[in-house]
């Protein structure tokens, strides 16, 4: 009953030229990613052979000919750029956005630390690219441009494949629709093109149009079924695409922590005699996609969502029931302490469960406050990102609307379309701390990770997953590393390295021109088998990358 599991985030950043409407975001993305590379690692290719974007978690495969070209992420253009970050993460161009995939981590706090480390890596890359190109390249950490485009912030969780996927989809649908009330980062505008004036809880909700599916770039689903585990056969990777890019740390820990606890619930419900199907029968939403939009648009936090069984419930009540189910199964399996609290096994779990309770208390407090009272909520605004953003914007809106505090009338509502409002929403997300509106409020928000630890996480891989081996291999033997992926490392035999052969290692790893006999690959599918404690000694004893991987390969068999 722990919140700990292998998890990690992926963040796509918006890239633009400050003050200019004329730029090519694809080219800018290449500029930024190229600037993230150093001479030590810029010849290492990403190994796409382990990717399988057409494998569906529901047990089927999509015909490649039927897939849209952008779904075939394992057949990239030849000029795609990938950089292995010093912390074992990946910086690359994804369509028209520079993206940072954090290294594999073991709990939500570590995941948030490595996610924010990515902001430092990407901001440094953007500044480097701006100097190299002589253009004002800037990054934003958000998900929408207010003009129809949307890009992603993804979460990944390793989980037991033995849980029926249908149950995963049902429980996660409930969670993803309702967690917006404390996890949303807030957005100005309603509708994909901000057709209506207003403010909503979530950046992503209006772009979700399907219950379930393999795709991520059109008709985006609540449940993404891409089944590509990057792990061993007993596990699947739940790829979550509905989340917002958060600037605040608390909502991010909540997003990762509550989702991990609910996956634990799915993995242990049978063992505890908890009837998951009956639980879900009582809560399944009648129309999850509609509910996703309703919850995001409902600043009253009181909207009753129709359930499939004919009943109704608020998002808050559904969250309460999800949290109660975790408590119930934890108490059944491991008993409780003298205060009636389940015997949570570690600090991260204690903290996540407490923070989940606090989040629901915060939302209840917000719900029962009118707009004037909401403007004065200080503690809650330090934890709920959409509330803090709303407070700042509501102040401006009232000024624009001539001091009127009535939010209901059409005229005052139209003030939400004023460019002075929109610019704060956008500048909130600016990654550069010198121009970011969020950076000014950041010191007033609750923190779970210290800045010095985040800075260190930009340079050092996590010690407790295979990311340690990936990061240290590249740091120590960068020139000898030919290709890297989440689950495989390939190095060159130094006896056959003949000077400048970097050109042939550029591009798609599946079409390598190097004689395979000169390469050595290590399968690192098990995310927990190549940690610092298991590899450090062998790294110290190895003269070349190939010595290290061969020693680890033998160690694995033994």
């Amino acid at each position: 009953m722990t919140v700990k599991r292998v998890m990690g985030t992926e963040t796509e950043y918006a890239v633009s030229l400050q003050g200019s409407g004329r730029y090519n975001p694809v080219q800018l993305s290449f500029d930024v990613v190229g600037a993230a590379a150093d001479g030590h690692s810029d010849t290492i290719r990403w190994d796409y052979r382990q990717e399988d974007p057409v494998n569906d978690a529901r047990g089927t495969r999509l015909e490649r000919a039927a897939a849209r070209p952008e779904m075939l992420t394992d057949a990239p253009q030849l000029n795609i750029t990938n950089v292995i970050a010093p912390n074992g993460g990946r910086v690359y161009v994804d369509h028209a956005h520079p993206e940072y995939s954090a290294p594999e981590t073991l709990d939500p706090f570590e995941a948030v630390r490595y996610d924010h480390a990515g902001d430092l890596i990407m901001q440094a890359a953007a500044e480097h690219a701006a100097r190299q190109t002589g253009t004002p390249i800037v990054l934003h950490r958000n998900n929408v441009d207010g003009k129809g485009s949307c890009w992603g912030t993804h979460e990944n969780y390793m989980m037991q494949r033995s849980v029926p996927f249908n149950q995963v989809a049902r429980l996660m649908t409930l969670h993803f629709v309702t967690r917006q009330i404390y996890a949303g980062s807030g957005r100005v505008g309603i509708g994909e093109h901000s057709e209506q004036a207003g403010f909503q809880l979530s950046q992503r909700a209006d772009y979700i149009h399907a219950r379930i599916g393999l795709q991520t770039t059109f008709e985006r689903p609540i449940i993404n079924t891409r089944d590509e585990s990057h792990s061993t056969e007993s596990c699947r990777r739940l790829h979550v695409i509905v989340g917002d890019a958060n600037r605040m740390q608390v909502p991010q820990v909540l997003k990762l922590g509550t989702t991990s606890m609910l996956l634990w619930l799915l993995e242990h419900a049978d063992e505890a005699g908890f009837d998951m199907n009956e639980f879900l029968n009582g809560l399944d939403l009648a129309d999850p996609v509609e509910a996703m939009h309703v919850v995001s648009h409902d600043l009253s936090l009181a909207a009753e969502l129709p359930l499939a069984n004919g009943g109704q419930a608020t998002a808050w009540l559904i969250q309460l029931k999800l949290r109660q189910a975790v408590y119930q199964v934890a108490a059944l399996l491991d008993g409780t302490d003298t205060k009636g609290e389940p015997a949570w096994p570690d600090k991260p779990t204690v903290s996540v469960m407490a923070m989940w309770g606090q989040a629901l208390a915060d939302v209840a407090a917000i719900r029962h406050a009118d707009d004037d009272a909401r403007l004065g909520l200080a503690a809650e605004a330090g934890r709920v990102e959409w509330l803090l953003k709303w407070q700042l914007l509501e102040k401006v809106r009232r000024k624009i609307a001539g001091g009127s505090n009535a939010g209901a009338t059409q005229d005052t509502r139209l003030a939400w379309q004023d460019s002075r409002i929109k610019v704060i929403d956008l500048a909130w997300a600016a990654l550069d701390p010198r121009t970011s509106v969020f950076a000014k409020l950041d010191p007033r928000t609750e923190r779970v990770e210290r800045n010095e630890d985040i800075a260190r996480a930009a340079d050092e891989p996590p010690t407790d997953t295979r990311a340690w081996l990936r990061g240290e291999l590249v740091r120590t033997f960068g020139e000898e590393v030919a290709a890297v992926s989440w689950s495989r490392l390939t190095v060159r035999d130094p006896r056959f390295m003949d000077g400048d052969d970097s050109a042939e290692f550029y591009g798609n790893a599946s079409r390598t021109t190097t004689d395979p006999a000169r390469l050595f690959s290590l399968d690192i599918s098990d995310p927990l088998a190549f940690t610092k404690s298991r590899c450090e000694q062998r790294l110290r004893e190895s003269k070349h990358a190939i010595d290290l991987l061969k020693a680890l390969a033998i160690g694995k068999e033994g």
């Binding site: 600090k347 923070m355 460019s419």
Partner: protein, 69 residues
């Protein structure tokens, strides 16, 4: 367990207290709790006023992206 895993403990009624949890709120924020939230927001708005007035329209209009994921 490293220190950095510890985070602010909640204040809600339905939480039990963990004596060994460490509150890591910054000094700045401790001040903020005592200070009126409206004043805090006003001072931030004063700080960014020039941005709002001078190039808001241009900044917002020039921010055009392509879809992702």
């Amino acid at each position: 367990m490293p220190q950095q895993f510890q985070q602010p403990q909640s204040q809600s009624a339905d939480q039990h207290e963990e004596d060994d949890q460490i509150v890591t709120q910054s000094a700045d924020q401790e001040q903020g709790q005592a200070q009126d939230q409206g004043d805090v927001l006003d001072s931030i708005l004063d700080d960014i006023e020039s941005t709002l007035e001078t190039n808001a329209e241009e900044y917002v209009n020039s921010f055009v992206q392509k879809g992702g994921e």
